[in-house]
Amino acid sequence: MERRTIFPGWGLPVLLVMPQLALTAVFFLWPAGQAIWSSMTRADPFGIRTTFVGLENFADLFSDPLYLDSAGRTVVFCAAVSAISLLLALALATAADREIRGRALYRFMLIWPYAVAPAISAVLWILLLHPQIGLVGHWLNRIGIVWDYKLNGTQAMLMVILASAWKQISYNFIFLLAGLQSIPKSIVEAARLDGAKGFFRFRTIILPLLMPTVFFLVIVNLVYAAFETFPTVLALTQGGPGKATETLVVKVYRDGVINLDVGSSSAQSVVLMAAVIVLTAVQFRFLGKRGGE
């Protein structure tokens, strides 16, 4: 059943929608428009004059090996963060879906990390993984594994992946748990009576029914990993050592804010914006179609 309220005239509807439209305009449309404009300009070395250069910044970008490296790194980073945090969250949600003692506390503890600010979570990870003062880092070096994320790029990458994945587990957990709980118990029970056990039952019954949630989360996680991990990476490694952990957002920041190459930086953010729009469109189409079935 559809419930619809019909407002007479235009005045009230416009008034009610205004705050949202104003926010969107100020915090999205305006800066996005500026980014698009400045992505097509180039400043002289002293920043005094800017000239319109059309799509030249984009052409430069896609022929720049450093940019392509960063893009490849970002793909690996996003895939790893999404995969790790989704798999762990799925395992935890499956456990929380059971009838266990202290379930409420267990769930509460799992939702907690979501409320921790990125900078604080970064400090936690440093206290764990620092080669000299970190609990785990120090122990690794003691047992003979050379661990120093400030010198070893792979280790640094591993650390930012872990820290970023950890922060997203709570979010995934909440959605996956809700997804699991919306699967009718009797369907799982029918499968039990049919003789399906353990992982087989999970793979053939539960996972297929959870797929819409998983798909939604994959998109959300990719977007998260691509954009919202910026403070985590900045606090942990600042994109280093070298450029080992410099993902595309970090590069946008470094090129634009530190190196003041506004034209290229804007072009990069326009590319990223396009990527998000594509991902979101895919998600809407897929989920929209499923909902309409």
């Binding site: 369907i187 039990r192 009576l193």
Partner: protein, 357 residues
């Protein structure tokens, strides 16, 4: 085909006792219907037998083997759920084949069995559909099909018809009975619907708040209800109950208005003055000049019969069922023939049969 014996089966959820010791024995191929009001523990009983919940105590012996502690998958039992519980992401064929694949049957065997079941249930043209593309009745059939392809030792039905509309329910009721007879699979059928209870089973178990009250053939449950609960639950409209006391050395009942009626079937044990409840079915109430005044409040015409609901002079509410359209009068004279009395203890509600000399 298998026998099922349940001994002193109990179940509590924490401090709440839901089943208080159920005993049952089903012959091979028998269909037993369990009937009771909503919340009396019917589903709980089925879930214990299926292995979906663990009993607090008691034994469930299927074909000579105690299965009470076994995993459901090891029991070889199929269940038809109230909401069908079809796998929404699988085709009708796959829904039925799922359990067979797990049992490791060869592909041609699976196909043969599924097609056989589909033919019996008229599902052949629907095999490639998904559950959401089926009507309620068709889903019900698929749920049945999923149970019968397995050729299990025992069928469990948990109110399988309660989500269907009335016409379909009547049709599926007959079909379930035919199918069960034909396959000869021992079955437990749970319902709160008394028409299903009367028509489907070889025997009927009436469950009241987790306590089995009567286990007998449907006609016996109807004809000789074990207590006032069963008497009021089976039969529509419900049996009328009149307060009375034992009189004339146990050979008669004295009603509230002072009238005394002799029992038609013999003397009851007990002292005169002992409290009784006399039950009489609405269809047994007779119209008789010189009987008690009956003030009609409500007339429910059902076509072939009519139910009159009203009050006696004492203010007691009773219902009367008559064939055809029934009288139009607002006040009638009714009497209660002693031959139709069901005599119950006024305090415990238990049936009191005549003393055999």
């Amino acid at each position: 085909m298998a026998t099922l014996v349940i001994e002193n089966l109990r179940k509590s959820f924490g401090p709440v006792a839901v089943l208080h010791g159920v005993d049952l024995a089903l012959a091979s191929g028998e269909m037993l219907v369990i009937v009771g009001a909503s919340g009396c523990g019917k589903s709980t009983l089925l879930r214990l037998v299926a292995g979906l919940d663990a009993p607090t105590s008691g034994r469930i012996v299927l074909d000579g083997r105690d299965v009470a502690r076994l995993d459901p998958s090891a029991r070889d039992i199929a269940m038809v759920f109230q909401n069908y519980a079809l796998y929404p992401h699988m085709s009708v064929f796959d829904n039925m084949a799922y359990g067979l694949r797990i049992r490791g049957l060869a592909k041609p065997d699976i196909e043969r069995r599924v097609h056989e079941a589909a033919d019996i249930l008229g599902l052949r043209p629907l095999l490639t559909r998904k559950p959401r593309q089926l009507s309620g009745g068709q889903r019900q059939r698929v749920a049945m099909g999923r149970a019968i392809v397995r050729e299990p030792k025992l069928f469990l039905f948990d109110e399988p018809l309660s989500n269907l509309d009335a016409t379909l329910r009547v049709q599926m009721r007959a079909e379930i009975r035919r199918l069960q007879r034909r396959m000869g699979v021992t079955s437990l059928y749970v319902t709160h619907d008394q028409v299903e209870a009367m028509t489907l089973g070889d025997r009927l178990l009436v469950l009241h708040q987790g306590v089995p009250v009567q286990l007998a053939t449907p006609m016996e449950v109807f004809g000789r209800p074990a207590n006032t609960y069963v008497a009021g639950f089976i039969g529509a409209p419900a049996m009328n109950f009149l307060p009375a006391t034992l009189a004339s050395q146990g050979t008669a009942a004295r009603f509230a208005d002072g009238t005394i009626q002799r029992f038609a079937d013999g003397r009851r044990a007990g002292a005169d003055g002992h409290k009784l409840t006399i039950g009489i079915r609405p269809e047994h109430v007779e119209f008789e000049p010189g009987g008690q005044n009956f003030q009609v409040d409500l007339v429910e015409p059902l076509g072939s019969e009519t139910v009159l609901i009203g009050r006696l002079a004492s203010g007691q509410l009773i219902s009367v069922k008559v064939a055809g359209a029934g009288p139009r009068d607002e006040t009638l004279m009714v009497s209660f023939p002693a031959s139709a009395f069901h005599v119950f203890d006024g305090t415990t509600g238990l049936r009191i049969d005549p003393v055999v000399n």
